[in-house]
Symmetry: C2
Subunit: 333 residues, 2 copies
């Protein structure tokens, strides 16, 4: 294993020091427990938006802390849920009268630990609620999950709910728009190679030289099936079909199309897939009116891509378009 | 070889279709020859800034087309210089009375083809000049280069010269600020794995399980030496020393520190390296006042990182800070 690390036990904290140095205008980091917080002060009357999960998926979640998106991100150890006390620290640092919404990807450990922290905060008199995102259409249950996994849709959810919180929506309304996004977003991923978790030191699964894991999870969990490598047109058609048929998306829908690198796949291939996916959606009468392309929900150095499609109405489109200023997403300001 | 492509012969053009679809607000693409152009119209009295080079280094250069940075990017085939006629097409599409500056990375083919295009444009009565960036301190000459290679500093050069062109500086002044950047910027890279060029189909070199190529080029060209894998503190110290001693940077300097992923190295490691590099510079009395972290000059899926340090004065810092709106760099608007 060759990696730019000193010690697998401290890799997350060591990386946060670099994040804090690079983006002191946007965020600050508190350590032990590790929490990433917006640099600007907590505002009375504004809902706090908090997310987190195992590390190794960067820029998710800490790269999305800032104006118009997350108030706090709670990074767990590599591929490991953050502890309830770390989530509690994030709540305490950000949450005042207007309450907080916790965005949780559907993994058993994350759901348990975030809900525990929310209950403890509620016992202290704070209005803290959770929403669980489960946008991955690949499999019904999986290694770390009862029910579907939360994957690429998380970025869109954090952006849109963050915009609602930023403009001063009440907690009921931020929660409602979050639940709307969760209801309208679907994803699927594929992998060509496996990630190597530092404290394990070897790839988390084996794939043959012509094998592709179709429906991969973001921790390298198995998907629907192993298929033979195929040209991009065929692979992306398979992915678009899986996503479109699930919701289902329909002729006339306006959508946001998010084509994501799982980490190790170069941008030239991600844009190539994006162009194909947009054409395949257009062939079905589905209009891509918003775009996101790049490595936003990764699985360390895993090679592969994912597609996420979100059905838009004018409210969701406006919230997507509104200004955001974070390390990884930035526009309009 | 598993990649998201249809045909190695069309991968660059196929990818540009996705780029154009995703960023129609910022840029448009003309095909055959392939040129990426700013979406807004050419402005009389404003210098055109043009760059380009072999593909496979994305987001360099096409991801930097837009307000405050490049007017045009000319993507060659994978790891192959663009042809003079493609560069000519970019000049014709963007250059009016104020002339154009071509930013060329120091590779023999790029220098030849950009200078040929510049001479042809000059013969047509346009004032077109070239600057050559050669910021890589690793080796004096290399596989594709007489003299030092142009690497990570190119991003900083395109941003700063682009800001000067955007505010209406005359060609003499844009060229002067570009030459100032070239004089003040130094880089070095390391690789853990090799990239696979689609039309070749196998990794471009072999590294043992504990070997690191120190001083790697962005096409996987050999560097200074092969070293044993070592902890991040030692590796980054080796990189910082090579860069600092070269210019040399001195106690009291204000600098921009750019920590780059070569493509396949996850962001968690890149931020970790950035934090170490900032501390090692501070130990030498060098103040990092501006930061850039991420995969901006890549070599397909190659795992590795590079460090680039630019000495700043108030002019360069102001131009760096000024608004930019491109697919890959965006702030202030």
């Amino acid at each position: 294993m060759k990696k730019v690390i000193n010690d697998p036990a401290t890799v997350v904290t060591d990386s946060l020091r670099g994040l804090a140095a690079a983006h002191s205008d946007l965020l600050r980091v508190e350590y032990d427990p590790d929490v990433v917080l917006r640099a600007d002060t907590v505002v009375r009357g504004r809902v706090a938006l908090i997310s987190g999960g195992g590390s190794g998926h960067e820029p998710l979640h800490s790269g999305f802390v800032g104006h118009g998106m997350l108030d706090a991100a709670v990074p767990g150890a590599m591929f490991t849920s953050p502890t309830p006390d770390a989530v509690q620290a994030a709540i305490k640092a950000t949450t005042v009268d207007a309450g907080a919404l916790l965005i949780v990807k559907n993994y058993t450990g994350d759901v348990l630990n975030f809900e525990t922290a929310a209950e403890l905060a509620s016992a202290d008199g704070l209005d803290v609620r959770t929403v669980v995102i489960d946008d991955d259409v690949a499999v019904a249950d999986s290694t770390f999950t009862a029910g579907r996994r939360g994957v690429g849709g998380t970025v869109l959810l954090e952006k849109i709910a963050g915009a609602a919180a930023e403009r001063g929506d009440r907690l009921d309304d931020v929660e409602a728009v979050a639940r709307k996004v969760i209801g309208q977003v679907r994803s699927i991923g594929v992998a060509f190679t496996a990630p190597t978790v530092p404290h394990i030191g070897e790839p988390s699964f084996e794939l043959g030289p012509d094998e592709v894991e179709f429906g991969i999870g973001i921790h390298g969990e198995p998907g629907r099936e192993r298929i033979k490598a195929e040209p991009a047109d065929a692979l992306v058609e398979r992915m678009v079909s899986a996503v479109v048929e699930d919701l289902p998306f329909s002729r006339g829908d306006d959508v946001l199309l998010f084509t994501n690198s799982m980490g190790g796949t170069p941008l030239v291939e991600v844009y190539l897939a994006h162009g194909i996916a947009e054409r395949l959606l257009a062939d079905r009468g589905i209009n891509v009116t918003r775009h996101l392309v790049g490595p936003y929900v990764t699985s360390l150095e895993m090679q592969g891509i994912s597609l996420t499609v979100l059905r838009l109405d004018s409210e969701l489109a406006d919230l997507w378009d509104s200004p955001v200023n974070t390390p990884a997403l930035r526009w309009g300001m």
